[in-house]
Symmetry: C2
Subunit: 318 residues, 2 copies
């Protein structure tokens, strides 16, 4: 039954490119469904719908608030447990207000938007680790990073990563990964990675990028991911592309000024943004993944869900 509902929802989701006439019908259907949902006794929540207890507070020191010219705001959740040294650098840079008056200086089509100090000459504040550890590969063992199935990554209470990140999580007994091993963060749209030179330990966290197109799995465990944009990603993805080498904006006029970057914990308590994330260590999230699975053989697919196709929900705290 739950399975059937999940399939029904997937089918709905596949109707992804409706035209206007259909959109009107959908709005009508939405209003009808809202009316139906007002009668909970007859329509119990689907297993993939979050309940209130699934929402967890994101700590203030994991929220990075970037204000762009034009009073546009991008909010990043920091991935503290996955890249502790780089995240420590990012926190110090924010506390020093180092990014103020820097810019978004690179937009390479189908690749990345990148920001920081385009001159690379701005001195870093005291306490910044110049060569943090290689935190792009912290998994205890090796696991296929290319796909994640409902039956391994999110099969239930055990072995499930519980922090709401896009991870290829550990499964008890799968390969050489011990239960509870952290897995790693995948490069997906809206991930925030550490730009660096050719040598993998040369990124401090001062120059950051966000994938804006199709991300290749070959980036995973190769670049350090320090967070994920949870609000305003479209402000970074919707910028004009540069035809210059590497997509670097060729002129100052193209660059988008960064007014400030602040840790929420460094802002006046009254003005802090407050966010919650949807926990993944529960059967409702497992059902959500199941609903995202590709068809299995002998139909048309390999089964499994595309790791970047898993919706990771956050919301402003009610």
């Amino acid at each position: 039954m739950a399975r059937l509902k999940a399939r029904a929802r997937r089918r709905k989701r596949l109707r992804a490119f409706p035209r206007w006439g259909n959109l009107k019908n959908m709005i009508v259907a939405l209003l009808v469904s809202l009316a139906v949902q007002a009668a909970p006794a007859t329509v119990p929540p689907a297993p993939s719908d979050p309940i209130e207890a699934d929402w967890r507070t994101i700590p203030d020191d994991e929220l990075l608030v970037m204000t762009l010219a034009g009073n546009r705001t991008v909010v990043i959740r920091l991935a503290t447990p996955y890249a502790p040294e780089h995240v420590a650098n990012v926190r110090r840079l924010a506390l020093a207000h180092w990014w103020d008056d820097t810019s978004v200086y690179r937009v390479q089509d189908n690749w990345v938007t990148q920001w920081g100090d385009e001159t690379e000459k701005k001195p870093l504040p005291a306490g910044i680790a110049p060569r943090p550890a290689a935190e792009y590969d912290i998994a205890a063992g090796f696991r296929p990073a290319q796909r994640m199935t409902a039956s391994d990554a999110y099969s239930g209470a055990s072995g499930v990563t519980a922090d709401g990140w896009a991870v290829a999580g550990g499964k008890p007994g799968a390969g050489s990964v011990a239960e509870g091993s952290p897995g790693w963060l995948a490069h997906c749209y809206a991930s925030v990675g550490v730009a660096r030179d050719a040598s993998p330990d040369t990124g401090t966290g001062s120059e950051l990028f966000m994938p804006i197109g199709g991300s290749a799995r070959r980036l995973d465990r190769n670049y350090t991911i320090v967070g994920r944009v949870i609000e305003g990603a479209s402000l970074l993805s919707g910028l004009p592309r540069s035809d210059a080498p590497m997509g670097m904006y060729a002129t100052a006029a193209e660059r988008l000024p960064i007014v400030s970057v602040r840790l929420a914990s460094d802002m006046p308590a009254a003005g802090r943004p407050r966010y919650q994330y949807r926990a993944a260590n529960n059967p409702r999230f497992a059902a959500l993944i199941a609903a995202r699975e590709n068809p299995k053989p002998p139909t048309i697919g390999l089964g499994g869900a595309d790791v970047c196709d898993v919706p990771l929900a956050t919301r402003r705290a009610p």
Copy 2:
């Protein structure tokens, strides 16, 4: 040896986010390498580099030229063999100049840019098939669409798809796919798909979309792909996102006017754009795929290449 070179090149490619200082070094290195490449006797072409014979002419009636406001041009190659009925509709629409004065009316972040007639009320020209066949699934058999490995899709002369599209091609003896079966087109960045209502046979080809973010494999064989943007994709991907439902631009001012859409074969011969594509049925392309493969177990990956990470080259005819 070839394998080692491919690995060396892959390593280079992974250095994808250099900073300015490194960019300068790269430019110097590029100049040096150009100097070296001027001495072909000492540096033979790598097996993945195309030779002149790998470049094939794209027929004029497979080139769709869309001129946007501001004299910006998007060029689409039509996928004639994969969706013949939909492509026939597209050709008729172009020959009737039907798209003139329509618009790009939808930009949904991390999903699609869509264009055509946003009112859906503009009458279609005579001869348009109102419900073309379901050309989103034409493969003779079933194959995993999620991954493509150098050793199956592009292993050599036999079973290799030869048209330079992003396809999960057939391999002799693999599963139930017969040699020469066409495979199918994957939804990748810059693919051009047919928008439709919920019912899969409701898209005529008048409303088209291009994926602009991470594309999910679950779209493959579900929506009809009629082509691929081979020039100017960034003009469609770099547009401001809409926050309105489905990413539809809410106001006329947001919509980007389409001045005209023409088949190259319908343009004066002297003014036609001429393009070539890189053929894929050769060992040089197979080596390119091999260089794009993810690491195999027991290192960090599953092996195989991400289907959307395979670079499909086109160029203006010299």
